[in-house]
Symmetry: C2
Subunit: 639 residues, 2 copies
């Protein structure tokens, strides 16, 4: 057993097997300090907020430790569970006695709130007659799912078993109520699917897997219409993805709640890895093509509409009014990780990396104390991270993702070891009994050179799979210093199969040029605009770096000289992109005939920073997509 985020060790339809988080030690300068901050700042302050907002007292009320009723919003239990999960993962490679103590205390409070039949919910405890009657809005199985995931994290990380016992009882209760006792219903917010599959993986009790299948199979038949909570806000069946069964979806439902949709996809991918359901896989595949091909921000964010927090139509990707909820970015990582585990297809790793380094990571401040719920790609400067939210799903979600990062880096398959994310680290991987130490040295995401030293405990033939990122061009591979005559196709894994000996060294050199990225013409928000990308990182122009010119008025030209440079004293150290640009000085009128436009371009210098790092300094305008003056000249001699 190991500390697996997702334990596909015995999943018959998963190509990849997990590597225990406890066997992956980060040695890098990018993620390690962020995880230190997570343990030292984020998780303790988040705990304080959970206390201050009565989220933990809600449990204590049930056990009688505190008097009073339920306080807050009905899904608040899930925030506690996600905090537990985050803390459990975070403590795997970072001991912190105080945090362990807090965790244990929180777990006890939760466990003590479990009813004899296994049910736990601090809101419905006070209205047990309404239990499971309002599943459209009640979030009961959503909360249950997060409890189960938290419990599994606690168990796998070796911190405590008490919550896992509670999870098993809760799981049994759910199995007894749904399906078997003829309550044909699903939860308005998917989450239980992932949790039940994982509970099955942990317990090998097949009823949990069946419950997950039941949830997916019964969704989309409009059953939730019978489970409306009176007076509750309701955005319609499509919002809940209850208008059509998942397997019948030909395209992403425009009105679907982004997080609900991506959680459902994640759960369905988990189910596929256990059942091999072909129709399910086909649905997942075509919906993945639709999301990534028409409805995803360049940051990997998903969700274009404030109304209903919904995904939006094809190519509908506004920048200033992007919703791109942090939870949706986290969910996009989760979904793509599962698709990757199922297939070993690098296209999923590409999206996982993209969402991780950009849309998701932007969700938390560098100091680990404040969060974005909404992640626009253009702002006039009013949009700032907040220490907390009434609906506080995002803070613990980004926390649990970051905490589990070591689990996303490596996998194994029958033939070898896979490296998905290039994070400087030391890993111990068990390949059919051969303990292989991998030593990854890299400056990634700032540089594209990755050195992997392979130290098998015994010399043996196996394959080391290195991911060639989809964004890369012209990468080169060296084995023990010798350049290989290989064309490294982007968005593939290059597998190096050989008899490995202690100290063998693989070097991957991926050029990281600055690239200007254009959009499909139907992305109305990005007409004649380009985004600046380098490696996995999307850049943005922030006002604080560009005094004297409104960054919304900066335009590039494709021939502008651009340079990448590491600056250690801002934003905890980042590679900035600097170069020549133009200021397009506006004449002020909202609308004017083009014949009246006067010459008003001014040559300037500009600086861009990684998108994830914006809004950590003085407030001001920010822009990802920058106008490109000679955009259409790229289209040739007609102009």
């Amino acid at each position: 057993m190991g500390v697996f985020i997702i334990d596909t060790s015995r999943s018959p339809y998963a190509k990849l097997r997990p590597v225990s988080m406890s066997d992956v030690k980060l040695t890098d300068n990018f993620w390690s300090p962020r995880l230190d901050t997570l343990v030292n700042v984020t998780l303790p302050t988040m705990f304080t907020l959970l206390e201050e907002t009565s989220r933990i007292d809600n449990f204590r009320v049930i056990s009688g430790k505190v008097k009073g009723g339920f306080k807050g919003i009905l899904f608040n239990d899930s925030d506690v569970y996600k905090w537990i999960e985050a803390t459990a993962w975070a403590l795997v490679n970072r001991r912190n006695d105080q945090l362990i103590k807090i965790l244990s205390d929180v777990v006890n409070n939760v466990a003590e709130a479990q009813l004899p039949d296994g049910y736990i919910n601090t809101y419905f405890y006070h209205r047990l007659g309404e239990r499971y009657r309002y599943l459209r809005q009640s979030h009961e199985l959503y909360c249950a799912g997060h409890l189960i995931q938290a419990a599994i994290a606690c168990k796998r990380s070796g911190l405590c078993l008490r919550l896992y016992d509670a999870a098993l009882r809760l799981g049994n209760h759910i199995v007894n109520v749904f399906n078997s006792s003829n309550l044909i219903a699903v939860d308005g917010h998917p989450e239980i699917e992932m949790a039940m599959v994982e509970l099955y993986r942990e317990s090998r009790d097949r009823r949990f897997l069946e419950e997950a299948v039941f949830q997916v199979e019964n969704r989309g038949k409009g059953v939730l219409r019978n489970f409306r909570m009176p007076g509750s806000w309701d955005a319609g069946d499509e919002h809940f993805i209850d208008h059509k069964p998942l397997k019948d979806l030909r395209e992403v439902p425009t009105g679907a709640h982004a997080v609900r949709f991506l959680y459902l996809m994640s759960g369905a991918a988990d189910i596929f890895m256990e059942t091999g359901d072909k129709a399910l896989w086909e649905a997942l595949s075509r919906l993945w093509v639709d999301v990534t091909g028409t409805r995803m921000y360049i940051t990997g964010g998903v969700g274009s509409r404030y109304e209903g927090e919904s995904i939006g139509g094809p190519y509908e990707l506004p920048n200033d009014r992007a919703y791109s909820e942090t939870c949706a970015a986290v969910a996009n990582v989760m979904w793509n990780y599962r698709m990757l585990l199922a297939t070993g297809d690098a296209k999923y790793a590409d999206i996982m990396e993209l969402a991780l380094y950009n849309a998701a990571l932007a969700g938390i401040s560098l100091d680990g104390k404040s969060y974005f719920y909404v992640n626009p790609l253009a702002s006039r400067g009013e949009h700032r991270r907040q220490p907390w939210f009434d609906v506080a799903c995002c803070p613990p979600n980004i926390a649990r993702l970051m905490a589990s990062l070591p689990g996303y880096i490596y996998s194994t398959s029958s033939g070898g070891v896979w490296i998905h994310l290039y994070v400087a680290s030391e890993a111990k991987v068990n390949l059919n009994g051969n303990i292989v130490e991998l030593n990854v040295n890299t400056d990634y995401p700032w540089g594209g050179e990755v050195k992997v030293t392979v130290n098998p405990s015994k010399e043996d033939e196996f394959t080391v799979y290195l991911r060639i990122p989809g964004w890369s061009r012209g990468g080169k591979l060296f084995i023990n210093g010798k350049e290989q005559d290989l064309e490294l196709t982007p968005s593939m894994y290059v597998g190096v199969k050989r008899a490995w000996r202690n100290g063998d060294e693989l070097t991957l050199r991926i050029p990281m040029p600055i690239e200007l990225i254009a959009s499909h013409t139907h992305v109305l928000a990005n007409t004649s605009r380009v985004a600046i990308k380098r490696g996995p990182l999307v850049y943005c122009l922030e006002q604080v770096d560009n005094p004297g010119v409104d960054v919304w008025n900066i335009a590039l030209k494709s021939t502008c000289h651009l340079e990448a440079r590491y600056v250690k004293d801002i934003l905890n150290g980042v590679v900035v992109i600097e170069g020549d640009a133009y200021e397009v000085r506006d004449q002020g009128e909202l609308y004017r005939p083009i014949n009246g436009i006067k010459v008003n371009l001014r040559h300037i210098k500009f600086r861009a920073i990684p998108y994830y790092a914006w809004a950590n300094r003085d407030p001001g305008p920010m822009m990802v997509w920058v106008p490109l003056i000679d955009y259409y000249s790229k289209f040739a001699n007609l102009i």
Copy 2:
């Protein structure tokens, strides 16, 4: 007395006086057929829908003619009132006995539902204990305001007095309850302000004016927080414009509900014309600058957000996700008409004309049977007019605006007669007892030549003010065929003062070139895009006219040859704009490095039609703002 939409005849702070609708006979080919359709199709079918949806039965329930309770949404009475108002105006110059009979019947049903104390509301009749308790959402004064406006329309058009009697009683009741009986409250949806000022103008009972002032003065103090309807959707104080007093607003509240805001502005403008309140005027002026300078679509539409149907931030003007509610366009016409009456300043007439011919007129189909609630400026073709809506504010609103069109064309002032809108028509205007016949001949909005024959009943000196539209350049004026040596400044009225004799002829020749319009650089939706405008009309590309190329992929070049041509057999006859353009064939990827972009421009021919006429034929994509390939070349030698 005359048939005035707004009777500023005795308003001390209004510069302009109305001309009776009954003295204005349209002779044109643009509006006349639309008003025929209004009377023959729209108003009868709308009546049937009012019946079918129980909106009239709701009144019959109170008088006991029908058994049952209230059906529908709590503000449904207002739809009946707006239908009455529309019908009353429409019948002024078009007799239709059947419609008169229906109107009289509807009016009787309404009047019979009035309670002894003057209150009328078919929803709260069934819950009188809740009367005025939930003003934040109850729409009680909103409905009352529409009743009053309908009643005044019936009275002025000479159709019936019964509703006016009811309106007076209702007005008295409101005056007695609010303010005087210490109910310090306003209505969540402005409307009563305009109505009360007009009731004052009609009755000269100053208490009604005071009530309007009371409503405006007490708004913005958060008083509505005490009048929440339990379980009702609530978008916050700013939505209701109750977060700050109108006079303190330095800018348009981003979260303000567009229709609520514009109705409040209209009512405030009415108040100003009676009170001359300088602080009120200053607020109106600066908010007008903000709306028209940063938050208005090129169509004159207002409202950029679906969420809360709100106005949105400065320069936030998405095209595909424009909200631009038809009611907001109607309200923009109403507000600007009032600002125009107050000042005689042509800038208000410009916006009035713009909103009328574009955003508002798009709200109704050419056949008069279906309506847009939301008016996007780009569509993939799914957005189509509907015969009705559950929330049916828009259909009768566009109907009453169109029905009252003859009232918007002319005004008088102490010195003469003003022509605001160029609509071929015959008008009789009373200038201090001198009945002046005006005969306006024009092809407007298709052509810019306007001939005005002036026939005073006696020769006299007065001024004829002709509006020089803001969009015009190089207009010429001829008096009795003789060109005048005048520079006609756009967005001004040119006043021709002389001793007028029978048959004197003024000719205005305004060139109507095709213009490509650009936006402020901060309008992210319109980067490198232009809108095609000719005269007062905004154009759009509709798929049905452009076979073989997706109109979302059409781009223009500023040097493209463009031609305007009248085509009589489409869309009831329109001037289309045709010319050369390019197809930008997309390579399909959502994002791609610009270096990978291949040559893919193809020369094509395109056709554009007036925006108001879109979605009257086969469904398909539509686009107002078209990419301009050489957009930045307009910025000179740097490129």
